[in-house]
Symmetry: C2
Subunit: 326 residues, 2 copies
């Protein structure tokens, strides 16, 4: 198995990406194909003193940035590090690809360079979100602002296959994000999706409301890309704002700083529970080959885990299982 890595995607590129590649190779024996400008990769590795002599490089020109038009990955940016990384899976150089770069560009590139799996109507951007006791997958998180009931059905099937095979969850519980638990709730699209999911080969629990998500009551939460995006960003925003507030309370004075020290173990445990770097990121689902989105702020450990997870994504045959069910 070989994983193509976009060396220049993410806030901490190329250092964290190279370090993560080295870690994945050493710890998991994963072969990594480094995608990006050859000279820059060699120079960075030398400067950082990271041995990449046992890794191949797929040469590229430039990097697609957050401010670039995502569609440019198909035109002016079609030989940037992310584009080369995506092409590596279609031309047989690698079995899976990983990028921490622009989510929008990766969605466009995944859909039009890697292309959709036969039968899949829409690719879905998934996210793995921490709960009290693990993670759940929310999809779609924003690739499709408007959807049809059949799209939501496919998101459920794809999410379920991923969580079972890659995350090792037996018979994943699938729920539909809606504004009430009764099957008559929501828009016409959601009512029809409820019906379709009820007859699908997944463990469908029914509707779930926003407030239930943090308690880990489902393993796969299916959403249209509009409300899925609102949900994940609200989830992130409220968590960060509250933790910031609590940090403020701790830093108030010497007295509160002492209290913070006394609570350190528990707080660290809470932070670890919700540490995205342990899963490394989330897949774009529905593509013909594995495309994996690492978190934009990935550090070396997150890259290492992203590479490992992407390898598992390829190894476990999730895509052929999705193909069989769709």
């Amino acid at each position: 198995m070989k994983v193509a890595l976009d060396v220049f995607g993410g806030d901490n590129a190329p250092a964290a990406a190279l370090e993560g590649a080295r870690g994945a190779k050493d710890k998991y024996k994963t072969d990594v194909l480094l995608c990006g400008n050859r000279e820059k990769i060699l120079a960075a590795a030398k400067k950082l003193n990271i041995d990449i002599s046992d890794m191949e490089i797929a040469d590229a020109n430039g990097v697609i940035g957050m401010e670039d038009n995502p569609m440019s990955i198909l035109k002016s940016n079609n030989d940037c590090s992310m584009a080369v990384c995506l092409k590596a899976v279609t031309n047989g150089q690698a079995d899976a690809c990983v990028s921490a770069g622009s989510t929008a560009a990766l969605t466009v590139g995944g859909t039009f360079i890697v292309k959709r799996l036969k039968g899949v109507k829409r690719c879905a951007l998934a996210a793995l979100i921490p709960t009290q006791n693990g993670f759940f997958m929310l999809l779609d998180c924003g690739a499709n602002a408007e959807v049809k009931p059949e799209h939501l059905l496919q998101f459920g099937v794809m999410g379920s296959a991923y969580m079972k095979n890659v995350m090792g969850i037996d018979n994943p519980r699938v729920a539909l994000l809606n504004i009430g638990t009764e099957e008559t709730k929501g828009t016409e699209v959601h009512k029809k999706a409820y019906e379709l999911l009820s007859g699908a080969p997944v463990n469908f629990l029914g509707n779930i409301e926003g407030r239930e998500m943090p308690y880990g009551v489902a393993d796969v939460v299916v959403a249209d890309g509009f409300s899925g995006n609102i949900a994940i960003k609200t989830y992130e925003g409220v968590s960060m704002a509250l933790l910031k507030n609590i940090k403020g309370i701790f830093l108030k004075n010497l007295f509160t700083k002492t209290a913070a020290l006394m609570l350190k173990g528990g707080i660290k445990e809470l932070k670890n529970k919700t540490d995205y770097s342990t899963v490394g990121g989330a897949p774009l689902l529905g593509t013909a080959y594995p495309v994996f989105k690492a978190h934009g702020s990935s550090n070396a450990t997150a890259f290492e885990n992203a590479i490992k997870t992407a390898e598992k994504f390829a190894q476990t045959g999730v895509i052929s299982q999705i193909e069989g069910k769709i």
Copy 2:
């Protein structure tokens, strides 16, 4: 000014409602019309030793529960305490009405008993949500799962008028909840709504993403009822789950309990900041007379503040201002 109060709505009825009515009368000289079964009200007041001799009672039969069909407020439940409370504003017995009962029933009753203001296409259920430094209004929170651009425009105009007059915010900042900040983001409905809000007589900031909400960057957040409902419930759910987690850390052992004591002031301040009872609830906007929804778990203070706020809702002429702008 007289405020009609549904004495039997909410988790803590009738005790908290009666106590709140007494408090509002004593503190703010607000006249309260107690709506509900006369005998039960008199018996409860006697048992609780609350003097209601200076308040009128509007007699009613029964209570509409959370499990009842909301539409039944128009038929089998049309003389329940909530229905009588709503009728009190249309027949001139009161200037505003307050209920902590079923939100769905209040939305139906508000729309069909109190009726919509001329020109208003849809009533919107608003919520006041705590942030780092105050509150913002999110509307619609679930009354309209599917909307047209003109509905979103009206939600912005109505929310702005309320926040200005009742909450005392000068030139309220209005934003549209969307999946990106650029005006080209979202569904066709959201793109068109962006355009309409840009030309409306409100201080329109543009789009806002879910993650910005907790930082109080807008005073009025306009949303379709579907994603607005997902947003508010995710907001509540994540806050509660995190605070529960932190409480768990505090209660771990004697050492952490001591630390919790040392932090007590700061934590209390954080809790007070986010205490719904200070605002008492939120309005149903778009009705011909003021309808105010108190929180389902309202205590006496929350009822007292809800009555006070509903009075202000009537006094400040928000409804005639909305009429002028629509």
